[in-house]
Amino acid sequence: MNPARILIVDDYQNLVELMALRLRAEGYEVITAFDGMQGLQLARTQHPDLVILDVLLPKMDGFKVCRLLKFDERFRKTPIIMLTSRARDIDRQMGMDMGADAYFLKPYDPSILLREIHDRICESPSHAPVQAA
């Protein structure tokens, strides 16, 4: 089975780089986007098994990306984890209303996020993570 593919959409390059390093070390395939439009485009062409999505993004905000993906039958079941510093209750509610599967606040505990990613991907029928060598 192919390794599960994760799309990270975040304009904070340093974070994307380290997160990708960590996820690749865990055996995942990682693709990255630095704005909302690029994220949406990559999701539609690369069909990731899970999306990690920031909210404040150039070109298109994360809420909109999330809504467009979740309203598309092809991606309805693709888990989307919002990862943001927007901590207001109303933002969290907005994320969940847009169809996000989980809402994580920055700075996050990387091990808890990793567990969430693992669990979400395990629930997916077609993919399972590959253990790091």
Partner: protein, 379 residues
Amino acid sequence: MTAAMSNSTEFEFDHTLPAGPDILEDIVALVPDWKHLIAQLDETIIHVDVFDSVSALTPSAGQLLCTTPAVKSTLDEVVSSLGADFLTLLDKARRQPPKKVRGTLQDSQGRFFEVTARNVISDHGLSLGVFFILHDLTKYHVQQQKISTFVSMVAHELLNPMAPIMEGLNLIADEQMGTLNDVQRHCLAVVAEETSRLARLVNDLLDISRFDCGKIQIQRIPVDVPRLLSSAVNNVSARAVAKGISIEIKYHELSADLFGDHERLRQVIINLLENAIKYSAPGKQIVLSVLSRKDHINISVKDQGFGMARRDIPRLFERFTQLNYPDHIRNRGQGSGLGLAIVHEIVKLHRGKIKVFSELNQGSEFIVVLPKRRKGRLS
């Protein structure tokens, strides 16, 4: 409550002030032509008599209501200018003479006023009407909004770099980048702990700025008490275990009547538990309990810690308060100094109150008293 822990302070948030000497009372009692005298004052004062007539206004109150003291205003006119909350304050003041009732009003032009209302009672026990003294806080309010927006922006800018810092630290600590020796591992653990503390401080600052702006809204829905308690305890269990402190949970079936905001109440309990852990010696016990009373629910966090001196208790809920503990107890570097201030704000939003029982070397108990839902409405 044990007899030993009788040193108690209660914090209520019902916006009433104790009765005290009042120049208005003297004027009304001693000067027959008091309405004429009041009309000379610079303060913004409105008097509503027992028949709901607006019988006296100072010039600045007249300006506020777009009238002159000579022209009689009706209560309806006052309400249309100052909003329906004016009637709520009037009703509250009438129900609890001679207490001062305090509140805030926003007028039709968007100005903010802090209002003190008082039902003045004559020597014969008759009401002389309710006096409203208004202070225009619009400039202060706008300034507060600007400060809070600034704090919020700064806090977000501080939070953003922390995510890659934590991610990088964890990558190294998990030895994904190669094996570490004990000294390196220890150094990384210290850096990770301090980074978490910084993140917590920034998050607490953000919360406080939101409370100041009135941007925090709470839900009032049934709260799953067992889930609330266990989730809060899980959050602090690592810190308790590291100190050899046990946490016992007690609740009764009836405590299912708890209504409120799960996330915010969880934050209250976590902050109280962290406080209890911080000020307890290793090996002690903390009891977290929920009790249902007739009209309210009590959430209690009781510790066997160092306790507090009576003089320190009223300062507890102030921001960045450091009590005068010896250094080995205070353990600088833990907590943000905002935990109890946040507890205060959340309990206030739930229309609850906090009771504190404490005595030096006898431990402390913090009881959060939350009103139960009244029939037909959410209280």
